[in-house]
């Protein structure tokens, strides 16, 4: 088998991505509090964590308001992910929003920003020092635990590479189309068509997985967002490419027409997916003053799985293209041989 090594590599990469991408724990986090508004006087707050170890390693809890701290007067661990905390809130806190901070040796510092709306504000208080001890957290691989995303952050390894693979396959398509225009090569014409077919298959998977993810995080299957509409427009343009091919019976004419159209379609794809979304505000990461590959979107803790995932899926896409292309070439040669 030709090119065996990269086919084995693709398989191993995808296995690695599934195992490490699903098994790596999220960073523990504070996910909920029973109270969202605090006023001067005593208050009891139930605090729920995710992946935390409150019983095993205890917790020190405080309210943080404009870098001034109010320590908890009592902390009871009800479960590993459940604390019951009492504060005596002083009057005179400066900021409208207070954060909740929980520290334990095992999990380190966990913060819930803007946890409490604060009443009885004033010029400030005498801050307290609430932390004793050091974090003994092991520097193992863990994924960020972000509000709204939570465990679904793992979708990054499956949804995003679909689009990268599509871009790679459509690039192969436009490259083969240029070859058609320069050399009038029917072999390149078939390759271009196969690249677009497989690319569209990956785009469909990207669209479905994105829609599913959007339902959970944005609470809608679809929203009129530049990135979403751009990807849908790209798919329609490339579907039209396949329709165009199907509507011209004469092979040489079809090859040239399709090749010219493909160059235009590719330019529009670049425009729709990489230019327009950046010029507009968008919910989707990587757009509108919200660039991907920044410290916000591709957290360095995700990189050890995300980059292998991209490579693995792209290799699988190229493999599928290669297989279908060779199969159609054989079919073509067979029908040629029968004609003679």
């Amino acid at each position: 088998m030709k090119g065996l090594w990269w086919k084995v590599l693709a398989t191993l990469l995808l296995l690695y991505v599934v195992i490490v991408g699903l098994r790596t724990p999220l960073r523990p986090a504070i996910v909920q509090t029973s109270v969202s508004r605090i006023a001067p006087g005593p208050v009891e707050v139930d605090v729920w964590g995710y992946g935390t170890h409150f019983i095993k390693s205890g917790a020190q809890v405080w309210i943080e308001n404009d870098s001034q701290r109010v320590c908890a007067t009592s902390v009871a661990a009800i479960a590993d992910d459940h604390l019951r905390v009492q504060f005596t809130v002083p009057s005179g806190l400066r900021s409208e929003m207070s954060d909740l901070a929980v520290f334990s040796e095992r999990d380190g510092l966990l913060e819930r920003f803007g946890a409490f709306f604060t009443e009885g504000r004033g010029a400030g208080i005498a801050t307290q020092n609430c932390v004793t001890g050091k974090s003994l957290r092991l520097a193992i691989l863990e994924f960020p635990n972000r509000d709204i995303l939570n465990e679904s952050i793992r979708n990054l390894f499956f949804h995003v590479p679909m689009w990268f693979t599509m871009v790679v396959l459509l690039s192969i398509g436009v490259w083969k189309s240029v070859v058609v225009l320069r050399k009038n090569d029917p072999d390149a014409d078939r390759s271009a068509a196969v690249a677009v077919q497989v690319g569209l298959a990956f785009a469909t998977l990207g669209l479905i997985t994105g829609s599913l993810w959007a339902r959970v995080t944005w609470e809608t299957w679809w929203t009129s967002d530049p990135k979403l509409n751009g990807s849908a427009a790209t798919m329609l343009i490339y579907l039209a490419y396949l329709v165009l091919r199907g509507s011209v019976p004469e092979p040489a004419k079809r090859a040239r027409l399709a090749a010219i159209y493909s160059v235009f379609a590719f330019s529009f794809m670049l425009l729709f997916l990489f230019v327009l979304p950046r010029l507009n505000d968008s919910l989707h990461p990587g757009n509108g003053g919200n660039p991907a590959f920044s410290k916000y979107d591709i957290d360095k803790r995700l990189a050890p799985v995300f980059y292998p995932a991209c490579l693995g899926w792209i290799l699988l896409g190229v493999w599928m293209y290669d297989l279908r292309n060779r199969l159609l070439r054989l079919q073509h040669r067979l029908s040629d041989a029968n004609d003679q």
């Binding site: 398989t11 098994r23 724990p25 599928m320 054989l330």
Partner: protein
């Protein structure tokens, strides 16, 4: 095949009250490892299918070139 076979044998062990490392792994931390095993089997299966198709096409290409 090997993975599923070893899983079945592990399940039988569990019923007899003995705990193998595999059963322990499968039950640990919310049973996510079971999902991982299932998806890993799927990916292995799909890859096997790709390899088989690839081999068949390679063989056909060889035959074709001999003609």
């Amino acid at each position: 095949m090997f993975i599923s076979a070893s899983l079945f044998s592990a399940a039988t062990f569990a019923q007899q009250g003995q705990e193998s490392w595999l059963v322990e792994t499968m039950y640990k931390s919310g049973k996510i490892n079971t999902v991982v095993a299932v998806v890993a089997v799927l990916i292995t299966g799909l890859a096997a299918w790709m390899f088989m198709m690839d081999r068949k096409v390679s063989r056909l290409e060889k035959d074709m070139n001999k003609r």
